[in-house]
């Protein structure tokens, strides 16, 4: 597949996004690393190229368009707004037979307060543009999972810990097992609790030796007290935990998934609004001709590190499971709040990899 053929495919997709009402936008290739590091954490260093500028400090070769497009919108965007972009992104590969280090992305982002309609607009547009490729759809909704966690009958601290790790399924599961009393208290933690219970935190800190570093005695005492408090908190009840485990593994066609979620909503009332958002999205998708009776839904879809999605998520996948998604996207309302310095706007969007489209369309 030649670069020219891939670019032609990218331009076709870009043209379709513009025809759908998007304003074309550009973004810098060299981005200040600080914002991205702050947002994604240390993991991004393994996934992006970082270089040093003598004046501007650490810079990153654009790993995706979302951050610069959101920043541009938050500075001087209309409300509502639709944007299209096309350009290279750069992904560092830490393995010998890794994926492409640079490739074209074409994207479409919608900033619109009518959320279920905007979700449906983006998904239907992407699915329609790629309809001839016989891709498999995968969808999910991280908002339902977040609502379920927020609705648990447990301490705020435990809920915050679970929410913080919602994109790290293994860690999330380990925390949930512990909070639900399904996993025993690790020996190290039991010993730690015993030591902490022996004396006042300040005395223990003083006895442990001179305190070095920025983390203060107050920081340490606060967490020591939190640990003791947590040890006294009752486990998440078995029925409630069972609902959450059930939710984590829910996989069904969308309409069946909706019926199932409506079935458990009376027992987990906090998910009610998120479930009705899901219902409204399905209606909006159906109105755009998507077969929601067959559309696959997985409650845990899109839970991977470096993601910031907090609502609807989707991927369009090639039959060859070794290939990355041909298209993927989702809702990222919280990201706009982080980047908007106090302001936020509901946002949803996605990207297509034109190189894969060109390949599947019969290049080679």
């Amino acid at each position: 597949m030649t670069k020219a053929a891939i670019r032609a495919e990218a331009e076709r997709l870009f043209g379709a996004f513009v025809a759908a009402g998007a304003v074309p936008v550009e973004a810098d290739i060299l981005l200040p690393a600080e914002t991205l590091l702050d947002l994604y954490g240390e993991d991004i260093r393994a996934r992006a190229y970082i270089t040093a500028d003598p004046m501007a400090g650490e810079m990153m070769l654009r790993p995706d368009f979302t951050v610069p497009v959101v920043q541009g919108h938050m500075t001087n965007g209309a409300d509502p707004a639709r944007y299209a972009y096309m350009g290279e992104v750069f992904r560092r590969q830490e393995h010998l037979d890794g994926r492409a280090r640079e490739y074209l992305q074409v994207g479409y982002e919608v900033f619109d307060r009518a959320a279920p309609q905007a979700d449906a607009e983006v998904f239907a547009l992407f699915q329609g543009l790629l309809a001839d490729l016989n891709l498999r759809s995968a969808t999910g909704d991280i908002g339902i999972l977040m609502a379920a966690v927020k609705g648990l009958t447990t301490t705020d601290r435990r809920k915050r810990a679970l929410l913080r790790h919602i994109w790290r399924p293994q860690r999330f599961r380990a925390l949930l097992d512990r909070f639900a009393g399904r996993a025993p208290v690790p020996a190290a933690r039991a010993q730690l609790l015993q030591r902490l219970a022996a004396d006042a935190p300040q005395a223990l800190i003083a006895a442990a030796g001179p305190l070095v570093g920025l983390r203060t005695a107050e920081d340490i005492a606060a967490r020591a007290e939190a640990l003791l408090e947590d040890a006294k908190a009752p486990p998440i009840t078995a029925p409630e935990a069972a609902l959450l485990y059930d939710l984590l593994t829910l996989e069904a066609p969308s309409r069946a998934a909706l019926a199932h979620l409506r079935g458990i909503a009376p027992m987990l009332p906090a998910i009610g609004p998120a479930v009705e958002t899901f219902a409204a999205r399905l209606d909006a998708l159906a109105a755009r001709g998507v077969d929601t009776g067959a559309l696959p839904f997985e409650a845990s879809h899109g839970r991977s590190t470096l993601e910031y999605y907090d609502g609807f998520v989707f991927s369009l996948l090639a039959p060859d499971a070794d290939l990355p998604p041909v298209a993927s996207g989702g809702r990222y309302d919280a990201l706009t709040a982080v980047l908007g310095q106090g302001r936020s706007i509901p946002a949803v969007g996605g990207i297509v990899r034109p190189a894969l489209v060109a390949r599947l369309r019969g290049g080679a």
């Binding site: 730690l192 030796g209 070095v212 570093g213 005695a217």
Partner: protein, 236 residues
Amino acid sequence: MLKIGVPSKGRLMEKTFQWFGARGVTMRQTGQEREYSGAVDGVDGVELVLLSAGEIPRELAAGRVHLGVTGSDLVRDKLADWDRQVADWAPMGFGHADLVIAVPAAWIDVDTLDDLDAAAAAFRAAHGHRLRIATKYHRLVREFLTANGVADYALVDSQGATEGTVKNLTAEAIADITSTGETLKANHLKVLSDGLIHASQATLFAARAADWSGPSKASLSALAARLGLPVPAVSG
């Protein structure tokens, strides 16, 4: 010629020479004491290349040396998919050092990675930046922390005197090698109970990318016989 890269100075070089010497392969420096050239006696067709221990992983990956002696920590940190680039031929039983995560001893609330993660989240909320971990082993530390679900930290580079970074307020915790733990203790740090990232030792590695055709293959077989080791599966 089969080229073997060996650390060019200090105890690592002496111990390496002793290890080979005990197996009937004599390595020695030639020329003046400080000159970086050497010779190998006991097996034909083997050339000694004296290199900085830190550069040996790179030379192995490029196939510019066939064999190399260096710390297993350096190979794992510097080479992506290290075991596909080099074969781990023989652990040599010296140069032991553990790469560990250490935090201030006064952190009475932190004993495990799980605690570190929770402390990092609270630290970030209270101080406005991620909890900094000073290290020179970026890949090893990052992969270890990611695998263990630790978030809200940032690695800061420290090429030496890493134990001092906490006191100097340039980091809140460290990831560094230690053999006895004395330096950590002297700097008021303690090792997390599950904070062992890698137990390193000097290791003889074979380069998969080196030219193993013809004479170097024969020399490898002869060397393996002399060392009493199976021939490593790198020579095609």
